[in-house]
Structure formats: structure tokens, C-alpha cells
């Protein structure tokens, strides 16, 4: 059974298309990761699910409700932890949680018990009665997470929950998310940290340019690549012509597949090898054509390799590329209510 279903979602901010036919199905009780570079459309998708934003077109279903029409019913079922922590600097952490409890209509005794429970679980005792303005990024994020969980939502949505956090806060948050997942809360988490999605997600989708380019279990996606990842350079700074020549040689070698020229990383070649023996024959083949091996790395495939395979660039390169194209001012203005 799917707790969230997104169908053909389109959303543009002026000339920038944030979602371009996004389809997604999140199983009930799973921790689902959305992986993609900044600007891929993850936050826009999450804001639409949370009823904060309306898509230009498409359908959104949450817990069997049409989120675009049954907004209050949808809101009642979800907790949202936004990318930008929005707290009132003048209130103390406890006062903010009390306010949150009142917005969700929790009764007095239950609200008090629940706040205490979350303060203990998220290790906030020492500072919860200080004003929020004095909190570090990690403290704010923990408080925000507590706010999102206060009403015991069936669905928790987290947008980049550990960006810029200290190790302690990250560990506390990861621990809590695993606990929640074990208790059958459906969690939808966006991240551009590969290790975060790899560590936490039962299932995941990779988003690029506003649509899903790969989805499934992280291990299955890596296994589907069909071998180990090799990165090869024949020169420190190669060029396109040379890289294409090497590509022609390599892709004819038995046991080599999925050869990609990575322009962003000095025209290095990324490919998969079925076994270690292939690497020794590779060196021989290159030598015959007067190419030397300047650098060669060999590793188990990661989610970055899955991304690279689908897009021809690494996640970091995609982020750098998108960073230059985004108009944050326009996006903020368009997304402000």
C-alpha cells in the first residue's frame, strides 16, 4: 500500500521548471529517500505534499486523501521539518513546542507529557528553556524535529534534515529516524548526502531536473549497475577527443560496461567491470594503443555511481552546474505566501 502517490507533477517558478512530470510512490511505513542535487526539485515536491505549494498540474494523494482538495485532513496526518528552520527567536524552545501543540489542538495534559517525552528523547533538557535565538544549528534542527513529531504524525517529511549539522546532532536525528521507521511511521526524507540516503532509506528515488530518473532499494540500484566502479584517467588533464578515443578502446573489452566520459572531472572515464581480471587486460589494451594509465581507482558501486550512470555526471558536479543557474530570489519570492 502506498502512503504517498504523486502523479505527473509539474511546477514552474517563472521561466524555471522545478518539477517536470514527477511521479513517486512511497510505501506505507517505509523510510523513503529523495536524492538529488540542490535545485533538482526535491523541496518543491515536499512543499506540494505538505500543502504549502500548489502544483501547476498533477495529482497528489496522501493517506488516501487528495492533498490538493482535502488539505486539512492531509495536514493533520503529517509533520513537516523544513530545510530552513523557522523558529521564533524570542520564544524559548519549550514555548515554541507549546505553541505547536496548540496549533494541533492537543489538550493540556497530553501536550505537557508529549513535550517532556520529546525533550528527553532528543536530548534537549539542558537548553530547552533558553530563547531560540541563542541556539546552534543542531539545536534548532532538533527542536524543529520535535515540533514536527509533537502530534505523532503518520507521515514525517524532512527536507535536508542534517545539512550543516554537527556529528552529535546528526547522530541523534539518524537514531530517531530509525526508531520511528521501526515503529511504522512513514518517513519521506530529501537529501543530497549520499551516505545519509544509503544509511537510512529502505527505498529511494533519484531526482534530476524535476523528475525521477531511478528508483528502488539502494542496494538493488547499486547491484543493477552490474559490477564494480572504475575511474580511469590517461592524463591529468585530458581532452574530449582523447577521452572518446579511449572510450572506444575500453568499451570493446570483454567485461566492461556502461562507459561514461565525465567532462566535469577532466574527461575521466567511468565504467563498470565484471571482475578484477578485466582491469589487467584493460591496461594491456591501452598500452597497445599507446595510452598510459595516469590514475585508476576501483571501488564497490555507490549511489553516486547510480546517479552518474543515469545522468553522465556526479552528484557534486550536478550541484555546481545547477548552483549557477538558479535564481534563489525569484524562487523565494514565488514560494513565499
Amino acid at each position: 500500500m502506498f502512503f504517498i502517490q504523486l502523479k505527473d507533477l509539474f511546477k514552474s517558478y517563472g521561466p524555471v521548471r522545478a518539477l517536470n512530470g514527477l511521479n513517486l510512490k512511497v510505501p506505507k511505513g517505509s523510510l523513503y529517500g529523495l536524492l538529488g542535487p540542490n535545485g533538482a526539485g526535491k523541496s518543491t515536491a515536499l512543499r506540494i505534499i505538505c500543502t504549502l505549494l500548489e502544483p501547476d498540474s498533477g495529482d497528489v494523494e496522501v493517506a488516501g486523501h487528495n492533498a490538493l482538495l482535502q488539505e486539512t485532513e492531509t495536514r493533520r496526518r503529517l509533520g513537516y521539518v523544513a530545510q530552513e528552520v523557522a523558529i521564533d527567536k524570542i520564544l524559548t524552545g519549550r514555548e515554541l513546542l507549546q505553541l505547536q501543540g496548540d496549533l494541533y489542538h492537543l489538550n493540556k495534559n497530553y501536550k505537557k507529557e508529549r513535550i517532556e517525552e520529546l525533550i528527553q528523547r532528543l536530548e534537549m533538557n539542558e537548553w530547552i528553556d533558553r530563547r531560540c535565538g541563542s541556539f546552534s544549528g543542531g539545536m534548532k534542527r532538533r527542536l524543529d524535529l520535535a515540533s514536527g513529531l509533537l502530534h505523532e504524525p503518520e507521515l514525517l517529511i524532512l527536507d535536508e534534515p542534517t545539512v550543516g549539522l554537527d556529528i552529535e546532532s546528526r547522530s541523534v536525528i539518524w537514531g530517531l529516524l530509525k526508531e520511528l521507521r521501526n515503529n511504522q511511521t512513514t518517513i519521506l526524507l530529501s537529501s543530497h548526502y549520499l551516505e545519509e540516503v544509503d544509511e537510512l532509506a529502505d527505498e529511494m528515488a533519484i531526482i534530476d531536473k524535476g523528475k525521477v530518473i531511478a528508483s528502488g532499494k539502494p542496494d538493488d540500484l547499486k547491484k543493477a549497475l552490474g559490477g564494480d566502479r572504475v575511474t580511469l584517467r590517461v592524463r591529468e588533464f585530458s581532452n574530449e577527443l582523447e577521452a572518446e578515443s579511449v572510450k572506444k578502446i575500453i568499451k570493446n573489452i570483454n567485461g566492461v560496461s556502461n562507459v561514461v566520459v565525465n567532462k566535469k572531472q577532466g574527461y575521466s572515464l567511468n565504467f563498470l567491470v565484471r571482475s578484477n581480471n578485466v582491469i589487467s587486460s584493460l591496461t594491456d589494451h591501452l598500452a597497445k594503443e599507446n595510452f598510459e594509465v595516469f590514475a585508476l581507482s576501483h571501488s564497490r558501486p555507490s549511489l553516486d555511481d547510480v546517479y552518474l550512470q543515469a545522468t553522465g555526471k556526479t552528484l557534486m558536479d550536478a550541484e555546481l552546474e545547477l548552483a549557477g543557474k538558479r535564481d534563489f530570489k525569484l524562487e523565494n519570492k514565488k514560494s513565499m505566501r
Binding site: C50, T51, L52, E71, T72, E73, R75, R76, R77, L78, Y80, A82, E84, A86, I87, D88, I90, L91, E95, Q98, L99, Q100, D102, L103, Y104, H105, L106, N107, N109, Y110, R114, E117, L118, R121, R131, S147, L149, H151, E152, P153, E154, L176, E179, L180, N183, Q184, T185, K333, M336, R337
Partner: protein
């Protein structure tokens, strides 16, 4: 251990719709008052500025002949009503600022993602807060005027002042909240507040009667909503309350007390209907 069984919390919610609206509205209002208590400078500045005006302007014209103004009042007595209205007007004009900051810093999203029983709670809490503050500031000016010997209204006069101020504050708060959702940021809102504040005061009968003004300014002053609030309050201070008496000798004709209140009422209701669709759309 963190529990996630949502059926638990549904049993622990306030059930009645009206209770839920009261709970969310009082929580949002309480938040604004906590901010005020911990950062009281805006409250004091709102009182201090008109007080300084009262002291300085009253001193400036203290030696004017006694028949200088209509009703043979001193300038301090004349000025009091204008500054009471100005204080309420300035306070209400700032109503949109907290909402604008909530929009800009994303706090409004926290409210919008919550299953509020009525989105109006966000607006109502702002109106309650700003009305209370504006009235408090205005009464502080009234108390100071009394201490300076400029008089104190009768009970009927006091009631008239409260009703007039409430109508004015509701109308201006509506404009300010509307602007807070239309303008792109707080810089633009502050600029409008800055531009509107003093010219609206000078183009009213707060500092001088219409008979002192050139014709063009007389026309503006007699159409200015502040004038319709100032004159009933001035009457409450200096005469017995009689709403049938002519309070404004405008270029277009005489305006009595009832008409002043009716105009303020129509303005408030009109602005409510004008701003409501915008707020509904923004808070949907």
C-alpha cells in the same frame, strides 16, 4: 520511546471546533504578547513619540491667544485628540510587520502546514494584539494629557473615544495586513508606513482646524479618515457628547458626529471585504 500511533493523539485533542479555534487563536495571540513583553521598545516608542509631540507642540503654541482656536480651547487641549488618533493610527499601521517577518523568515509556513480549524486565527490574533497595543498607547496619551491639565472625557465621551478608536484601528489594521501579504518584503512595507504616517497626520485636523488650511488642503483634510476619528474625540473632550452636532465644516458641507462614525464604520467594513479575498487566497 517515541510513539507514532496517531490514534493516540486524536483522542487527546480538543474536540469541539470552537474550542480548537479559541485554542489556536489564543496561542498565536499569546506569542505576540510574549514578543512584546521581551522586546518592549516598540510599545514605549509608540507612546513616547506622541508624548514628545504633545509637549513640544503644546509649548510651541502656548502663547497663542485664547480665541485662536474654535471653542476657545488651549492648543494643548486641541492637540490631545489629534495625538490620540495619531497614536492609534501609527500602531495599527504597523500591524502588518510581524506577519511580514513571519512570511520572510518562514514561520508562516509552520502555521500554514498545521491543521488550523480556521485560517482566520492568524489574522484575528494579529488584530487582537494590535488593537490592544494601540488602545493602550492611546490611553497612555490620554492619561498624560490629563496630567498636563488638558482634561479627561466623561464616561459617555470615553465610550465614544473607545468606539472611534476601535473602528479606526480595525480599518488601518486591515490595510496593513493586506499590504503585508501583497508586498515582497519588510523594506517595502516599512517604506509605505514611513511615507504614509506623517503626511496623513498633517493632512488631517490633528494639528490645525480646517479653517486654518488653504482650500486644497481643507478638501484633503475633510476627506481624510483620521479627521472623522479626530473630531468625535475632540468633541468628547470639550463638550457633552451630542452626535447630532456638526463636527466638521467641510468644503463639501457640514458633517455631524453620526456621519463621522458611519463613515468610519463603512470604511472598516469596506476594507474588510476588500482585504478578505486576498487573505483567504494567501492563507489557503
Amino acid at each position: 520511546m517515541i510513539t507514532t500511533n496517531s490514534s493516540l493523539h486524536y483522542g487527546k485533542e480538543s474536540k469541539n471546533d470552537m474550542n480548537q479555534i479559541l485554542q489556536e487563536t489564543s496561542a498565536l495571540t499569546w506569542r505576540l504578547f510574549i514578543q512584546l513583553i521581551r522586546r518592549p521598545s516598540t510599545l514605549f516608542a509608540g507612546i513616547l513619540q506622541p508624548l514628545i509631540w504633545l509637549l513640544l507642540f503644546a509649548a510651541l503654541f502656548s502663547k497663542a491667544p485664547i480665541d485662536f482656536l474654535p471653542g476657545n480651547s488651549s492648543y494643548g487641549e486641541f492637540l490631545g485628540a489629534g495625538l490620540i488618533v495619531f497614536t492609534a493610527f501609527s500602531g495599527a499601521l504597523n500591524a502588518g510587520l510581524p506577519v511580514m517577518f513571519d512570511r520572510e523568515f518562514g514561520f508562516l509556513n509552520r502555521l500554514l502546514v498545521a491543521p488550523l480549524s480556521s485560517r482566520s486565527s492568524i489574522v484575528i490574533s494579529s488584530v487582537i494584539y494590535i488593537t490592544t497595543i494601540s488602545l493602550l498607547q492611546s490611553f497612555a496619551i490620554m492619561a498624560t494629557s490629563a496630567l498636563l491639565g488638558y482634561g479627561w472625557p466623561s464616561l459617555g465621551g470615553f465610550l465614544l473615544i473607545a468606539i472611534t478608536l476601535l473602528l479606526l484601528v480595525f480599518a488601518v489594521t486591515g490595510i496593513s495586513l493586506g499590504l503585508a501579504f501583497v508586498l515582497p518584503g519588510h523594506i517595502e512595507l516599512i517604506a509605505i508606513i514611513f511615507i504614509a504616517n506623517l503626511p496623513v497626520l498633517f493632512a488631517s485636523t490633528a494639528l490645525a482646524p480646517i479653517s486654518f488650511m488653504p482650500e486644497w488642503l481643507g478638501w484633503i483634510a475633510s476627506l481624510n479618515p483620521l479627521t472623522f476619528a479626530i473630531e468625535p474625540i475632540r468633541m468628547a473632550y470639550h463638550h457633552s457628547v451630542d452626535l447630532t452636532s456638526v463636527l466638521i465644516k467641510a468644503p463639501y458641507g457640514d458633517v455631524n458626529g453620526y456621519s463621522c462614525l458611519a463613515i468610519l464604520f463603512i470604511l472598516t467594513v469596506g476594507l474588510f471585504f476588500l482585504v478578505r479575498p486576498l487573505l483567504n487566497r494567501k492563507l489557503a
